[in-house]
Symmetry: C2
Subunit: 280 residues, 2 copies
């Protein structure tokens, strides 16, 4: 079992892969999300894991667009609490830090902490683990990185200050991808994408096929259709399996009001109870 | 009349400001979207213009989040065709270009063209007009920028190749902001944001208040609620004025199923007929 992920050792995607696929899976770091999709699609025993949504930033649209472009299925999901720490070489003192490196979103998440610093430059690199590696490789004792605890461990850095994110209710949801769909039983979630016909109230009619059958809608996302300005694709997460009623009938009904419907996969939803305890 | 926009002279936002507010308005370039909102909110005679949606990339989420954070109204919209050109100092030949500078999204939009080039490095800067300025200021005859025709004019660059964007159906919609709402008559569009109650089928019920009254839904966008993982705010564009029926009644009805409703503004929709002719 080979699991492709975007980033490098120490990245949050690596942690998500370990959490979902376990400690024995072989992980394959790749530069871009597009590479992860291509890799999982190419190899018969290939899988992929990618972030799809962050609780502060919202959906990762590039991943939605790649789900449409590639013939892969969502086979599961996993959520991670995102904790960010300031880290440096073991002998670096906090007041000798002149530059802080991290990924753009991580920088945004630590805005409150960063605004308290004086005479410190903040620079964006392509991911948090790369920021930690950079400090190590260049032996930079005038600099620090914002990254995960895992990244500190991988690159032998010391944590100068823990949990510097402005809002601790910071979670990322990842999806696991495979060439073959899974057929889970019990309380199942299904992801799908559709384009509505050009008729009045089209989106309302599309959502009605679920509401009329008491099918819970878990998430709605819209994306532009390339080459058709101001027309949209809708991505839904709903409860149920496409081959069992009431979802089976709802999907037949959905076809009547859509020009295009595709099932992206059915899977067990991640149990939120543990991470939602953080909110109390 | 002072119009704040993000970027610098030659930016697409500057063109949008000119198109919407006319040639006599005084324009004020600012570094970030957040600065534009803060500036328009602070000055009694202040206005702002920001991009909200691109037909290839989708919504600009930071702008949605800023609409919620600030007390400004949307008073109008304007759409621009985004045309990107390769430009350099007047004496630079195409085959002496070793580095191309542009903004990240613009680079993505020219992927097909860029993939045909050999031994050329592509580097991202924070906006397209800044890339053009950089070439000029550093007198770089080994480099080119990808930017607008306007940016070439402002910085005295010569266009080496026109319209290098991969998909020409590339439009950005901008919104105009003011401290005071406008009261347009006729065929009007209203933007609003709401959070639904935690009841079954809540989003469906929220959309039903419009559908039942034959009110057209022009756009739906969802954004996470900070601090409440996996709960969302919904932004809608609908037809009509909030103080006139049927929208007036629909909004009363919407309050019944929502914990929060806010009107972001009513305005005349931009006439798409001219730009949609490009699609034929």
């Amino acid at each position: 079992m080979m699991i492709a992920y975007q980033g490098e050792p120490g990245a949050f995607s690596e942690q998500a892969a370990r959490k979902y696929f376990g400690t024995h899976a072989i992980l394959k770091p790749l530069p871009t999300f597009s590479d992860v999709f291509a890799d999982a699609e190419r190899h018969p025993a290939g899988f992929g894991i990618v972030p799809i949504e962050n609780s502060l930033f919202g959906s990762i649209h590039q991943v939605y667009d790649l789900l449409l472009k590639h013939k892969l299925f969502i086979i599961g999901e996993v959520k991670l609490r995102i904790e960010l720490h300031l880290m440096a070489l073991p002998k670096t003192k906090r007041n000798s830090v002149r530059t802080i490196y991290s990924q753009l979103q991580a920088i945004g998440q630590c805005e409150n902490f960063l605004s308290t610093l004086k005479n410190v430059k903040v620079e964006a690199v392509h991911d948090t683990a790369a920021a930690a590696r950079f400090i190590q490789e260049r032996k930079r004792n005038d600099a620090a990185a914002i990254a995960s605890e895992q990244a500190a461990r991988v690159h032998g850095l010391q944590i100068l200050k823990r949990n510097i994110e402005s809002n601790h209710r910071n979670f990322t949801r990842f999806i696991a991808l495979s060439r073959k769909p899974v057929q889970p039983s019990g309380k199942v979630k299904t992801s799908l994408v559709f384009a509505v016909k050009d008729i009045p109230g089209a989106l309302f009619k599309a959502l009605a096929v679920f509401a009329m059958r008491d099918i819970n809608l878990l998430k709605v996302e819209s994306r532009p259709i390339i080459g058709k300005p101001w027309e949209y694709l809708f991505y839904l997460d709903v409860e149920g399996m496409p081959n069992r009623n009431p979802l089976h009938q709802a999907l037949n009904h959905l076809e009547e009001v859509c020009t295009f419907v595709r099932i992206l996969g059915s899977y067990w939803p991640f149990d939120d109870s543990a991470i939602l305890r953080h909110r109390k």
